[in-house]
Structures are given as C-alpha cells and as structure tokens.
C-alpha cells in the first residue's frame, strides 16, 4: 500500500512539471501587462514603466523566466506579486480560510441533501418522490451558479432584505453572535454552490443505488428476513458508496473552480476572487501560483480517490 502511494507520488512529479510548463508558457504568451494601469496615468512616465518591467524580469526570454520560477519554487518561494508587492504565498494563505469555509460547508450541504434523497429515491424508483427529486436535480444542475447567485441576491437581499450579499471578513461581534453572523452571510453562497453540487450528486447516488439494489445478494439479504432499513443501509449503501466516494473526491477541484464565480458575485475574499482579480490585473506570479495549486489539487485528489477505492473495496488491489 505505502509502496503504491509512493510510486503514485513519484509519478505525480513529472506530470506536475509538465502542467507547470504549460501554465507558464500560456501565461507568458497571453497578452497584457501587469503595469498596464500605468499607461494612462499621465503622472507616470513611460521610462518608469520600462524600468519596472526590467526589474521584475518581464523582458527576459520565456525559458529563463520559467527556470527562475522553478528554482524559486523548489526553494519554497512562490513568487512575488507585481501588483501587491508582497509574497504570493502570504496572499494565498490569507485567502484560503474563506474558500475552505465556503467550499467545505457547500460540500457538506451537498452530501446531506444528495445521500438521503438519492437513497430514498432509489428505494422507490419512479414514485412521486423520485419524480420530484429528479425534476429538481435537473433544474439544479442546469442552472449555472452565477445565475442562481444573482437570483438569490435579488430575492433574499434586495426584495426581502433578509441576508447580506457582501461577504465580510471582519465581523464586529464576538462569541455566539460572531458565529451566527458568519453563518448568516455564508447562507447564500453555500446554498448556491451546495445545491448545484447536490443536484448532480443526487442523480449519481440514485443510479449507484439502483445498480446495487437489484443484485442477488440483496435479494438474499431480504430473504433472510432482514428489515428494509438494515438491507438498504448496511448491504446496499456500503457498496453503492464506492463510486460515489470517487466522484466526490474527483469533484473537489472542480468545486474550487465553480467557487471562483460564486466568490466574485458575493465578494468572498477567497482564492477564486484572488485568481480573477489577478487575471484582470495581469499579475502573472499570482495567477501562476493559484492555477498551480489547483493543478496540485487535481493530482492529489486523484490519488486520494484511488487509495480510498482500495480501502472501501478490498477486492481491488493496489499494485
């Protein structure tokens, strides 16, 4: 097992290197310039701009810049933001808690909805409940998050005035009130992301359950006289969850991606909004670092999914 993990980690190195080369080249070739805002500022002479470009090494050839970046990365230096003039890793660490909080809660919400609904729908396929659940699931994953986000704002903030739509990181309260405020302001973004996730997950849980529920051993279990609940939870669900776990693990990086839009709409100071603002201001080191983090997440969660697979189903051996 540990041998397998080690091997997978070693394989990950060249693929991460490859990803970093592609990312770097694409970013270097992309048009735009971190000092573009200076261009229309009559106070800043063009020479100053040129000097800044030279200072940050923007005029070096691409391969040199890549090697610099790689070397720095190996030494744990994530780079230096052109725009904020501070280290990229501090910038990312600052943004991480908000993203983890929102995405984590959204994922939990999605699971809390998807598993019971999916399981129950599978036990009574084509019943009224199943039909309704299906309809909502279709609506849920057909509506993009930026649309539901705006819809929520219009309904709950503007019309009803129940919830704030600007996410704030410094709530001026302590103790229980702070917790309540944190929850209150996260309701909309978490619901938007969570419901979107839940929709596709419900469909997946349902079909995974249906695949298993028809197998002979389930009939055997029932024939032994076990109750419906025991059969479903102990015999069917355990096996049906194997592909679901994989799906969830593989979806986590995608959730980070989906959060980018949501973070922008609700002004959540997370990694996603950092990525967007950095792209808009052409802050290449930050864009590079954030996209690289996403790439690492994909590789990592792939590995986790594979390991979990083996753990959940001992028939699958990892070599």
């Amino acid at each position: 097992m540990s041998k397998y993990v080690l091997r997978r980690l070693l394989i990950a190195i060249p693929s991460l290197l490859g990803i970093s080369v592609v990312l770097f080249v694409v970013l270097a070739l992309a048009p735009g310039d971190p000092f573009s805002e200076l261009a229309t500022n009559p106070n800043v002479p063009p020479e100053v701009q040129a000097a800044l470009r030279a200072k940050f090494g923007l005029d070096d050839p691409i391969y040199l810049r890549y090697l610099h970046w790689l070397n720095a990365m190996l030494h744990g230096d994530w780079g230096f933001s052109f725009v904020s003039r501070m280290d990229v890793d501090t910038l990312i660490l600052q943004r991480l808690p908000a993203t983890l909080y929102v995405i984590g809660s959204a994922q939990i919400l999605a699971l809390l909805i998807a598993i019971p609904v999916g399981v129950y729908a599978a036990t009574k396929p084509y019943s009224l409940f199943d039909q309704i659940a299906n309809t909502f699931a279709f609506i849920g994953f057909s509506l993009p998050t930026f649309f539901t986000g705006l819809l929520f704002i219009l309904i709950f903030s503007v019309t009803l005035d129940w919830l704030p739509f600007v996410y704030s990181t410094d709530i001026k309260a302590t103790g229980i009130r702070w917790v309540l405020e944190m929850i209150r302001q996260a309701i909309m973004p978490v619901a938007v992301l969570g419901l979107f996730q839940a929709a596709s997950m419900t469909r997946f849980v349902r079909s995974a359950m249906l695949d298993v529920i028809r197998l002979d051993y389930v009939t055997t279990a029932r024939a032994k006289g076990l109750g419906q609940a025991t059969v479903i939870v102990k015999h069917v669900m355990r096996n049906a969850m194997i592909p679901v776990v994989t799906l969830i693990a593989l979806q986590i990086p995608a959730v980070f991606g989906g959060a980018i839009v949501t973070e922008q709409i609700f002004r959540i100071p997370g990694i996603g909004s950092l990525l967007i603002s950095s792209i808009l201001s052409n802050d290449t080191p930050v864009v590079m670092a954030v996209t690289f983090v996403f790439a690492c997440l994909v590789v990592l969660f792939n590995l986790i999914a594979d390991v979990l697979y083996g753990w959940l189903d001992p028939r699958i051996s990892l070599r």
Binding site: T40, Q49, K172, Q264
Partner: protein, 596 residues
C-alpha cells in the same frame, strides 16, 4: 485678453476693496472661474484661501463605522508604489499630503500650516521655488513627531530609481531642502507655474522617515510597513488584506479639531460596479460606493429604492475619439502607423471634419452617460479657466455629407464614398466596456448614413492599455484609423495632460511606443504654445496658451471629444461625503460626516 482688468481686480482684492468671492464671481462671468482662480490670486500676491468649511460635527468620534465599497480594492498601501487610484485611495486613509484639493479645486491645508503665496514669502516671484511651512505638533501614529526631515526623505526615496517608485516623475526634477524643522523648500530647475504637485494630493502623500529609511532603494519592497502603514492621518491602521479589505480606527491624536467623525473605517474590495451601486443605493449595506460607472437608467431605477443616491463631481476627464495621422495599413521598417506615412483618408481635412460632425454627442449623453456626462467641443475640459469658449460642435449627417461631396468623395455602387480609388472605410477601436461599445454603435450608424463604412474593433482593457511592445492592439501602437478612450486629468492643471501631444513625443517603434503622442499629430504652433505655457508665470497668459493649444487641436480635428465625464459615486442618503473632481475620493475623508 483681460490682462489689465484682471490685474486691477487683483489689486482691489489685495487692498480689500473687493472680496474674494466677488473676484471669483467676476472670473466666472468671463469664463475664468477655476480651481486655479485661486492660484491666480496667489501669484498676484494674495494668499490662496481655503475652501469654505461645512464640517458640522463638534466633537471627535462618535460616528460609528464608515463602510466604503471599492469594487477594485487596494492591493498595496504604499503611496509611492500605487499602480492605480485604488491604491492611492487606500493609502490616503492613513497617510497625508501637505495639502489636498476641495470640490472646487481650491487648495486645502492638511499637514501644511499655510498655503504658500508671494505675500507670505512662500512663493518665489520667478516661480523657481516654493516654501512650505509645516503644521507644528503633528505626530505619526506611533507617537514620533512629523518634521521637515520626513518631507525631505520622501523626495530622496521617490527620486531614487532603485526604489522604483511610481511617483518618480513628480520628484526627480526637483530639489527639496530642509530650512528648519518645520519648513521645507522645493527648488525647481525652471519656472514652474503649477507648483502644487509634489507633496500635494492623494498620489503624493508622505511616508515616515523613521520607518522607511532602511528600505530606500533596491530594498524598498522588503519594508514591512509597505503593508501596515503608520501615517499621520485621521485613521490608524488596523488590518489589510490585499484586494479585499482595509480597516482603520479613529486616531485620537489627530491634528485637526473634532475630526474624524467616524470611529472606524472599512474599505471593502471586490465585485463589480453594478452590485456595488446596489449595495449602497438599494440595500444600504455600505455607506459609500466608489466609481459607479453604471448606466444612468440602472442608477435611476436603483435610486427609487431610496436608501442612497448618486453623487457627482466635475473634473476634467474627457472621453475622446483620436484620429490617426499616419497610415495603419502600410508597414514601413517593421512598423505600421509609421511617421514616414500619411493617413490616406485623414490627410484630407474635409474627412476629419465630416467625421467630427457624425459623432452625435447629445445622443451619447442621453443614451449612455446621462447625468454623468456633458457634451463638449473641447479636448481640454478643465479646470474651467483653461476651457476654450471659441469652439462649437454640431451633429449633422447632411452637412457632413455635403462636406464630403464638396471634397470630391462620391458614393460608389455599394453606397460607400470613394475618391481616387480610395474608399472611406475605417477601423474604429476601443477597449471592451459597455458604454464604449454603445458609443461605437451610435457613431457607426451615423457614419453609414453619410457613406462611411466603419469596422468596429474592441480590445480587452488589459491589452488595450498595456505597454506590451509586442502587442499590436495597444492604444499606443494605434494600428487602427480611429480609437476611443480617456486619459484622466489627475490634478487641477493641464500641463502634464497637454504635454503628451508635443511633436517630440510621437509614439514610434524606436521609442518602443512609449511616446505619448499616439495620434502622431505634428504641429509646430502647438509645440510653441505648450513650451511657452510651461515657462509662463503669468496665469492669465498661461491659460491663454493652453486655450490656444486646445483650439489648434480642434481646428485640426486631432480628437473628437465625445463626452466630458463626471465622477460618479454612490452614497448613503445621510452621509455627507466631500468628493472633488480634482482629487481622489478619499482625499477629503477627514471632513466626511453623517447627518444625524
């Protein structure tokens, strides 16, 4: 022009026979009222007055929290590194300049004790030096005293190229010397009619010597105080998250009485202009929203909700269409729009004139800018004193067609005019931005009616405004026939703005398109007017030179001014923000309060 009359009026003010307000009113009557009307008086020997004070609160603090929404949040808090106004705005919460600008463009004292004038000996008669007296007893947030050493240090810090400060242009050609602990003198190497640049306004706030002295030059980026400012301002620094949040709390030792009003200040970043307008005007979650460049229709609809309103400030920003005087379609020595070529269509003045008649400025105002725009014939729209009254504009497809007919441009079989085998087909580029694309459509429609074929091109703003030498789509390359954008006028004086279009500043491959004269317009009279203005100490003559320069641009149709744009902000109904079209939004923050 009114030279004599003006002089006698200045004399009257001096002797007290005429009061200052009457003087400014008279100036207004002859089109000379101005942010710089006061500088006229200063140079005429009268002290520049502070603008009227409307600050009502009678004690410091007690105003609760002030919540500001900047949809592009500050990304750094060292004014010398500020890449955009957002960074200057954020820094200005904590750092202060010697003086700032009020809504009328009057100078307002901050860290200075008095406004330099010839009378108080602050201003040299030859315009080659200015002496500032500093306010005594001002303390940095850490308790250290603010002195002339700090001011001198800022100059040394910024002018050092290794620091790579973006304020270098302001400081590299001046010399700053300490006279005594509370007096500094700025020496210019040539007569400088507009002396209020260094240490004035939000872009030129002062950082403390004792915290930055070790980080001058190449170590500048390592200074811990780059991210946690210690200033002299009304608010003390609490927290900074780049792009997201800046927080400050009341400075109990602030040097102005009864100020600030608010106990805490918070500047939240992120999102977009429309939702920012919503959060201030409609739901009231925030007190103030910055730079609400949103269509007027939307704003009017939001205002019906009634928790907030829009606030406008008049400055000198002009949205314009620039005409290319070189040929963008012919390549000479690896460069298009080369100075060795002439534009095949625009070399005929009739075409340029017809084009300017096809820009329906009134419709653009009605359909797009609404309350945030004014129609204008001038490229230079402020300060008022520099605005030409000799120009006019009109929109008429018929007249434009007639001009083209008379010049020999006849419609071809496809309805597009042509002459000597050259068709009137032009490419019209601008950055991607809702109002700009709508303006493009309005202009294109009118041009079509007059037999001019217009191809529209929109470039992402980050590319359009970039200095990337390799990218042909920047505004400086100008590989199109006409292009539209605006260049902000960041101080109440046109000198920097008008200098851009000197013949020596033409953008070419040779100077890596860093030349600022992107229309590549060359006019000797213009060069002469600008050079004369730059060393002219007589404010009236100086204004006349700039007016002449503007009129030369008008006659040659170098620019077609589309709209004189106003600053648009959103504010809660009970907030009394002080916004100047000549300064950053936070430049007067110490005077903001809330009506109870």
């Amino acid at each position: 022009m009114l030279d004599k009359e003006l002089r006698s009026m200045i004399g009257k003010v001096k002797d007290g026979r005429m009061d200052r307000r009457a003087f400014i009113k008279r100036m207004a009557a002859v089109g000379l009222t101005a942010p710089l009307a006061n500088q006229i008086l200063a140079l005429g020997g009268i002290a520049m007055a502070e603008g009227p004070q409307v600050y009502k609160p009678t004690k410091r603090g007690g105003g609760g929290a002030l919540r500001l929404l900047w949809w592009q949040g500050p990304t750094l808090l060292n004014p010398h590194f500020a890449t955009g106004t957002k960074d200057q705005d954020g820094s200005r919460l904590f750092y202060e300049p010697l003086a700032c600008w009020d809504p009328d463009g009057n100078m307002k004292l901050v860290l200075a004790a008095e406004i330099p004038s010839i009378q108080n000996g602050g201003l040299a008669a030859d315009g080659k030096s200015v002496t500032w007296k500093l306010k005594p007893g001002v303390k940095w947030h850490d308790g250290k005293p603010f002195t002339a050493d700090d001011v001198v240090f800022n100059w040394e810090y910024a002018k050092d190229p290794a620091t790579s400060a973006l304020t270098i242009a302001t400081y590299r050609e001046i010399t700053v010397e300490k006279v005594d602990d509370l007096t500094v003198r700025i020496l210019f190497n040539k007569p400088t009619p507009f002396w209020a640049d260094a240490f004035v306004g939000a872009p030129n706030t002062i950082i403390p010597k004792h915290l930055f002295a070790d980080y001058k030059g190449s170590k500048s980026r390592e200074a811990p105080t780059n991210l946690s400012p210690v200033g002299t301002g009304p608010y003390k620094f609490v927290e900074f998250k780049p792009g997201d949040l800046v927080r400050g709390q009341l400075n109990p030792d602030y040097h102005m009485p009864n100020r600030p009003y608010f106990d805490t200040v918070e500047m939240k970043g992120g999102g977009d202009a429309v939702s920012a307008a919503r959060a201030v005007i409609q739901t009231g979650e925030y007190d103030f929203g910055w730079n609400i460049q949103v269509e007027d229709d939307v704003l009017l609809r939001l205002e019906k909700g009634g928790k907030g309103k829009t606030v406008y400030a008049v400055g000198g920003d002009t949205e314009f269409i620039a005409l290319n005087f070189t040929d963008p379609n012919t390549e000479v020595d690896g460069e298009r729009s080369s100075m060795k070529t002439k534009h095949p269509l625009f070399s005929d003045p009739a075409v340029r004139k017809a084009l300017s008649m096809l820009v329906d400025r009134e419709s653009v105002k009605k359909a797009i800018y609404g309350r945030a725009g004014r129609t204008t014939a001038n490229f230079l729209n402020g300060p008022e004193k520099f605005v030409s009254k000799n120009t006019s504009w009109e929109f008429s497809v018929e007249k434009a067609s007639k001009i083209l007919d008379d010049a020999g441009w006849k419609p071809g079989a496809d309805g597009i005019r042509e002459k000597d085998g050259k068709k009137l087909k032009i490419v019209y580029q601008t950055s991607i931005n809702g109002p700009r694309q709508k303006t493009q459509a309005i202009v294109k429609q009118a041009c079509q009616k007059a037999g001019i074929d217009v191809e529209l091109k929109s470039v992402v703003a980050s590319v359009f405004f970039s200095s990337d030498v390799a990218n042909p789509d920047t505004y400086a390359h100008f590989y199109a026939d006409i292009e539209m954008f605006q260049i902000p006028l960041s101080q109440p004086d046109p000198s920097q703005h008008m200098r851009r279009y000197l013949s020596i500043n033409v953008a070419t491959k040779e100077n890596k398109w860093q030349g600022t004269n992107f229309p590549r317009w060359v006019n000797k009279d213009y060069d002469a007017a600008i050079e004369a203005a730059e060393s002219e100490m007589d404010p009236v003559k100086r204004a006349a030179y700039y007016i002449k320069a503007n009129d030369l641009m008008f006659q040659d149709t170098v620019f077609i001014p589309v709209q004189h744009r106003l600053k648009v902000e959103a504010a809660a109904n009970n907030l009394r923000p002080i916004i100047s079209g000549w300064a950053n939004e936070t430049d007067n923050l110490h005077d903001w309060y809330r009506e109870e």
